[in-house]
Symmetry: C3
Subunit: 127 residues, 3 copies
Amino acid sequence: MPLVRISLRAGKSADYKRKIGDAVHHALVEAANVPPLDRFQIITEHDETALIYDAQYLDIKRTDDILLIQISFNQGRALEIKKALFARIAGLLHDETGIRKEDVFIGLIEVPPENWSFGNGEAQYAK
Amino acid sequence: MPLVRISLRAGKSADYKRKIGDAVHHALVEAANVPPLDRFQIITEHDETALIYDAQYLDIKRTDDILLIQISFNQGRALEIKKALFARIAGLLHDETGIRKEDVFIGLIEVPPENWSFGNGEAQYAK
Amino acid sequence: MPLVRISLRAGKSADYKRKIGDAVHHALVEAANVPPLDRFQIITEHDETALIYDAQYLDIKRTDDILLIQISFNQGRALEIKKALFARIAGLLHDETGIRKEDVFIGLIEVPPENWSFGNGEAQYAK
C-alpha cells in the first residue's frame, strides 16, 4: 500500500538502485508497520536539467546523490511514527549504500485505507 | 481534473498504451462521474530495476504486466463510488487489453476542487 | 517543501526546461510564501503516446506545449492564495517562456508540515 516514488540523478547502477529500494522498504516495515510483502516502488532517474534541488536549504548540504522520496500510504500514523520512519529511512540508506543522510529528502502523502486497490478491482482495505 | 499517472514495465506498444489510457479514462467517466473531456494522463515505462512490485501480497498473483495507477481527483466520492471505480477500471482494462485484473494496482489521492487550474491561471472549480 | 512535478511533451531544450522550473518556483515564492531556497523539482518529458491531454476541456484550447504541474506542499493556504498562485505560475511562465496560459495545468496536493523531511532523517517542520 505504500506507493513509493524515488527520484535520483541518472547514472547509478542497477545494484545501487536495488539497495535504495530495499532500504526504503525495510524502513517502512520496521518503523511504520507496513506488511513486508506490501511493496510497490517506482524509481526514476533524471539528468541535471530535470531533477532540481537546493543544495543548502535549512543549512543541510545536499549533493547530486540526492534522493527525492515521495510515499503515499494510509493516514493515521502518529507524529512519533513519522519521525521514526524518516530516521529509519535515512539511517538504512546510509548504512546500506553509504548515501549521506543530508541527501535524503522525503515527503508523505496520506490517504484513507479505502483508497487502495491491490488488484482484482477490489478495495481490499475498505471497512 | 483527474490527473492520472500510469506506470508499467517497459516494452509495450503505443497501441497497448493507448488502450490502457482509454480504459482508465472511460472507467472514470462511467463509474466516477468524471466529465468525458476531463482527461489528463501520464503513462511512464520502467525497466525491471525501476518498477518493483510484490508478486503475491494479499494472495493476489501479479506479473510483469502490472499497472501501478495513481489518480488524483476531487474529494468527496463515497466508498461505493470508489469500489465501483476500482471494479470498472480493472474490468475495462481486462476487456480492452486482456490484462489480468490481478495486475491492476490503484491508489487514489483526493483533493478539494479549488486545488485545480485547468489553464489560464484560474481555479475553475473553486466556489 | 513544495515537491513539484512538471510533465511536458519531449523535445524541449535544457534552457527551456530551466526557465520553466524557474518560473514555477518564483511564483511559489512570490504568491505562496515559499522560502526562496525551498526548491525541489522533477521535470519529466514524455512522447505523444505517454502524455495525454484533452485539447478543449472547459473551452480552454490546449496544445502540445501543455505543462502538467503537480505541487505537493503544506496545507492551510487560503483560497485567495491558491488563486494568486495559479495566476502567478501561468503569468510568469508566459512572461519568461512565451508559453500560452491555456497550456498551464496545475494540481495541488496538501499535506501537514510534519510530513516532510529535508534531510538527516528529521521532520524539520514538525511542531
